[in-house]
Subunit: 470 residues, 2 copies
């Protein structure tokens, strides 16, 4: 049974972190899309792993819910809890150090509260690359990136967040500390607690630090934007490029509608391509200096154009041109926010099913409401699309409140029929919890519940995220 | 409480698999090094996942121990149990089909009993590469490769076995079936049961099938063998190559003693290098056709020789030369077996600690018994060494029985002092179980025990492997 912390509890918890009790700032009770609102009895900002341990020990003994909080940029409501007895928020923001960088081991150790772009910077200072990269990298913190197994724009080459982790330090729900900050490429000593904690969204433990994998900094980068006849051609282009060019690091699909949304808000933004193509791709490859990547990529792209897989295309000739291409890609979420989505979906399907999904889902959506506008974009090379739905011109998302749920059902039905996932990179949080319970593999769900009960018998850690609270 | 199966139990279990009861063949009660011996009340060879499920349901209800068995090539005694009530052996050997190959998705689905080399072959037929590769690939089965998170000779480029898996089908200890055969690069829907089952050595569930990642087949392969002044130079050479050559797929360290052991058994075996260098490396890089890999690799190697990082060196000019280099590397375990090891160690340390480890461990070993001969070889690029100890010339391993344990303690002490692992790629099994319990991270061990109890409350699955049986 969870309880609301008493005055005495709060005094003890604040004594641990050396903080003065104060009202919890509004920013800690909200999430980026404003779809979930949290409550909290206190905000605790520990300075060290021992303080996290002391907080969890106390809360476990008393039955006080703890909501771990990192950058707060998650999109599924994993960082706010509005139900049940008021929890305490455990923010990792004061644990933001890079503990060490070991360039020779291609590794660095970051505390959970380190801002993602600061981690990237520390790697760059050591002439290395930390490849995890996403639009929110200036405010997302690495602990949350790992807790949600974040994806981003370089998954194609470097994998998801979990693939970039060599070891973790984590506080378990009873306050015990798992010391797993190893710098090893191979370590087969027992169950992989690291991979269990990563992606568990703070429900099984609080990751307090991690050893992250670094890579050689690319000496050459080739970036191109190409108009494509459609998703099927985009996929064929992807396979053709992959065969020819080692080091393909990004292959993003962008719809004409996504570009139009950006242009509506920022009319002066230049478009590298002419004639408003209905579909385009942003392709990037990286490699070591002197390996002739540019020549190979150009030849492969020219062949692709000849084969009809792509039309108009531009290869960035300067860092400014490259930035313009990525800037357009990264403005799409901004453009979407400006229009206001009816419903957003973060889905993945097998690569071979992508074009079929896009065609079928468009029909499925139209069958629910023919006025809905689709903006489909994302990480084509990973089979991961952001499939977002918008009101007809002149109408607002609120006008579609009655059909929003049916639209999501229609999209997710199609994803399931194709063996896909309803959460490719954002996680489950609270937004998709009930749908996971309804659609997930029953044996996996039962195992998840058993593991949660075994590691967190009091159910104090992020209750209601991923799994329903008891 | 585990019980020995009754006649009635055995009749029911055999009815599930359609087999006639028979004495369990000796081959199922042994492991490659002959250090552990098993017992068994029956050998069961299910033909389908449903049969595995029915066997586990029955055994869970009755408290009968089940030892999952794959190729039986594991080196830590995970496949045999000699204590407690006689278990049943559940061999996956009749579930050896490749269920499907999806070249466009770069994936194939193999049943757990598929022989690793057959999986490689199925990938090659589809013009793809399945990169998991090791000396035992002709008899190892993929289920065991995943249960132990096998390593091998291409980890440097493609990762460990767990990194090659997109989804699994597994029977949990209560007989329920987890249907997770997804073909997705990104799927953040709940705890990662896949990574928990992989590496759990059959103690949390029986993997019955897996969707495996495929890669483009390399169009070019460069293989070279070079004499190096010592481990430190080998490491410097590794870093130099890694900066210059994309697609480095193997970087193996070989000691002069390892080559001498091979030559003692097979005197006619040609050595690509002259003058018996004390240390050498086997380097391989792969890339797409026409990418100029050979030129780049040759230039980088020439520079390395110039910088004194390598001496005599040969780049394979034909498939036969390449095979000769790998043949020598892969004969080393054979050579070791012929001499007879006092103790074998499968360790990893951070890359930067490798040369220091080799120097210090040699002193540590000599301090216990100065007559011991070291053969240190392995996957340098992964920080993973096989550090094996042999009797002085003219003596036998049995003569060292009194010091074998102290030698292992000395080597493992050094590994621990350097933040390393006592099992880099072989797993824990029964051989290293007590040492893991003594030296492992206490919070991790407690979490492992809680997870085991939660998923397998009767303790029927591979009891005594990884964790002590109750």
């Amino acid at each position: 049974m969870l309880i609301e912390p008493t005055e005495d509890d709060l005094a003890r918890l604040h004594a641990i972190t050396g903080e003065t009790p104060a009202p919890v700032p509004e920013a800690y009770l909200t999430e980026p899309r404003g779809r979930h609102r949290g409550q909290a009895a206190a905000l605790l900002r520990p300075r060290a792993t021992e303080e996290v341990s002391a907080i969890l020990s106390h809360c476990a003994a008393r039955g006080i819910a703890v909501i771990p909080r990192s950058g707060g940029t998650g999109l599924v409501g994993g960082q706010v809890r509005g139900e049940g007895p008021a929890p305490v928020i455990l923010s990792l923001e004061r644990m933001d150090r890079i503990r060490w960088v070991a360039a020779e081991d291609d590794a660095l150790c970051a505390e959970a509260g380190a801002i993602l772009s600061d981690v990237q910077g520390a790697a760059a200072e050591a002439d290395r690359l930390f490849p995890l990269s996403m639009a929110s990298e200036g405010s997302a913190r690495i602990g949350g990136n790992l807790a949600t197994n974040a994806g981003g724009v370089q998954v194609l080459r470097y994998g998801n967040a979990r693939d970039l982790v060599l070891g973790i330090e984590a506080v378990l729900p009873d306050g015990s500390v798992h010391h797993g900050l190893k710098t090893l490429r191979k370590d087969n000593t027992g169950y992989d607690l690291r991979h269990l904690m990563i992606g568990a969204e703070g429900t099984l433990g609080v990751i307090t630090a991690a050893v992250l994998r670094l890579f050689p900094r690319p000496g050459e980068t080739v970036t191109a934007m190409l108009a494509v006849p459609g998703p099927e051609a985009a996929l064929a282009l992807f396979h053709a490029m992959r065969r020819r060019v080692e080091g393909l690091s990004a292959f993003e699909l962008i719809s004409g509608r996504g570009v139009a949304f950006v242009r509506a808000g920022w009319p002066d933004r230049p478009d590298p391509l002419a004639d408003d193509p209905p579909w385009r791709v942003l392709v990037e490859a990286t490699g070591p200096e002197g390996a002739g990547l540019a020549e190979r990529a150009e030849a492969a792209l020219a062949e692709a154009v000849e084969a009809g897989l792509a039309g108009d295309g531009v290869i960035a000739q300067s860092e400014a041109q490259r930035a313009a291409m990525w800037g357009l890609r990264e403005m799409i979420p901004e453009g979407n926010r400006r229009v206001g989505a009816i419903a957003s979906h973060d889905i993945s399907v097998p690569l071979s099913a992508i074009a079929g999904f896009i065609a079928a889902a468009e029909r499925d959506v139209a069958a629910v409401d023919a006025s809905v506008r689709v903006n489909c974009f994302g990480h084509l090379g990973d089979g991961n699309l952001h499939y977002n739905l918008f009101p007809a011109e002149g109408r607002r998302a609120a006008d579609y409140r009655g059909v929003a749920e049916r639209l999501t059902q229609a999209v997710h039905d199609r994803v399931h029929a194709l063996g896909g996932s309803i959460s490719a990179e954002h996680g489950i949080g609270r937004a998709k919890r009930d749908e996971l319970a309804a659609r997930g593999d029953p044996a996996k769900l039962a195992a998840m519940r058993a593991i949660k009960a075994a590691l967190d018998p009091g159910g104090i850690l992020n209750p209601g995220a991923v799994l329903a609270a008891d």
